[in-house]
Symmetry: C2
């Protein structure tokens, strides 16, 4: 297999694009694709300050690398979740982010959940009783809050995440199979800052296959954490990814086609339902927007965690 551009030995063959490329041209091609997505969906400009949420994985570190190479002003944000899972998951992922930032002379902001709020994600989740034994819903909610706070307090124009095409189509498939209209109309490559306290959000990898971000990280020599979070195993998202991988294997390009035709249909006015614009309340405690009046779910979570921890009963009942 030869590189389409120079005829040298190709290192990657992308059946979905009918395109094989050598290392050099692949490392040019992907940033070019990302630049096109940024422009097409009007995500942000070079004069804007960008906060990239980095997890230490291939997607977010490759994205930070590409944004930097493309000349965007991107700082990193690492959120320490306190997940061990027998792999020192959080510690290793933190190290990868620090290493990347140091190597490229970039600024990394670090937020440690346990340090700031008094409990790790797994501990907070187990106290909260949300998510049927999995901390994923608590984790998502906390990350969204913290990312938003850091973006707002740091004066960033936009918050960027490394969600790739595989992530996006898995969510799309799930929402489609349930015909979850409210979620469908909100899924987009860029979400405007619909409220003063909410950051604009963008996903420059939304058209990029997971395999393409992995290849990029490897070829660029980016050190990243290979392990998935232990809590992701057996998750609903992985179930939909499995289905979509089978479809992609049979029909290369199926995922991209599914995603792009969705965006096109939405743009073309398929849906009557519109994303809820605002009418949001503001949490009296943290000042972030919240759907219901009163304290937001983030603040209620920590209230409960602190109350439980402070009132902690002795491990064994007192002798009667």
């Amino acid at each position: 297999m030869k590189c389409r551009k120079c005829g040298e030995r190709a290192v990657i063959n992308m059946r979905q694009h009918k395109l094989a490329l050598c290392k050099e041209h692949y490392l040019e091609w992907l940033p070019d694709q990302v630049e096109r997505a940024i422009e097409k969906y009007q995500m942000f400009g070079r004069e804007e300050r960008i906060l990239v949420a980095v997890s230490g994985g291939k997607d977010s570190l490759s994205l930070w690398d590409i944004l930097h190479r493309l000349g965007y002003q991107a700082e990193g944000l690492y959120i320490g979740l306190g997940i061990d899972g027998g792999l020192d998951y959080s510690e290793n992922s933190h190290r990868m982010c620090e290493k990347f930032a140091a190597t490229h002379g970039l600024t990394l902001r670090v937020e440690d959940i346990a340090q700031r709020y008094g409990a790790s994600i797994p501990e907070a989740a187990s106290i909260s009783n949300r998510g049927r034994g999995r901390p994923c819903s608590v984790c998502g909610m906390v990350k969204r809050h913290v990312m938003n706070r850091v973006a707002r307090d740091g004066g960033f124009d936009v918050l960027v995440t490394g969600h790739n095409l595989d992530d996006e189509v898995a969510v799309l498939m799930q929402n489609t199979l349930h015909w979850a209209g409210g979620y469908l109309v909100r899924q987009a490559p860029v979400l405007p800052a619909s409220h003063p306290g909410l950051a604009r959000k963008a996903k420059p990898f939304c058209r990029t296959y997971e395999r393409e971000t992995a290849a990029y990280a490897l070829l660029r020599g980016i050190d990243y954490i290979y392990d998935e979070c232990v809590y992701a195993l057996g998750s609903t998202t992985l179930y939909y990814k499995d289905i979509l991988n089978q479809m992609e294997a049979k029909r290369p390009g199926a995922k991209l086609q599914f995603y792009l035709s969705f965006l096109e249909a939405k743009e073309g006015g398929l849906f009557a339902l519109q994303p809820e614009p605002g009418a949001l309340n503001v949490c009296g405690t943290c000042g972030q927007p919240t759907s219901a009046p009163g304290k937001c779910s983030f603040c209620r979570l920590w209230d409960k965690v602190h109350a439980v921890k402070e009132a902690a009963l002795p491990a064994s009942p007192a002798p009667s």
Copy 2:
């Protein structure tokens, strides 16, 4: 496994409904389910004349049987397509329909395509050059035309087909993965007669799994043709059915949930796009509605078939 209703030995366990039934109660339960679908979607009433399109397969014959048992006035329509496929497919399916009608004292109308129009479906399809080597698109178009004509000329109120849930979700999945808005908004358990020359169409099995219609046919002793049409092998529909079967195996009820949540979302106003109501033209030759002005595609098909057959060149070139 015991019958939920009487405790006798169950003959079928429907994980999607968390319901196991004995033969007697299953043969009561399915007609009851069909009756509910007919009422819920306002398909037709007992005073109306119903034309059931029967293919000789388990779905359409079971449906005819159930409609008859429920006291509806249902005549059958068999369309002879002239498909052999090494199995005498059309001949055998015709025999099954005749046998069923005779056993139950019901009226079967028969339309033979080759006899009436001068070529079988495979021959017409090969002359027409439509459908990339498969006669399926020509076959569908011809069947729709003939069903509609017989329903109209026979003074029927409604045309009913045996499409089951598996058929419906395969189409839904295909249209969803392509976000084919026009098709999505038109997919429904019942389509009103949007034009004087078009029959109302209904699918009373739209919530019934294929496995349930097969079990019904077997338990009722209905003789039906087991073979799929040879041209269905490797079809796009079977590809989507495969995917959906895997999902159903992992999550019993997934197909029904997908279909019902789609209907609910549509009913709830998810889509802005509306099914095109009318603005249809009428074919000057056959009098049926057609989307474009002039002759309809059905009449153009047969014009071409007749022209090619009449001008047929000698099989071998004349000696020079």
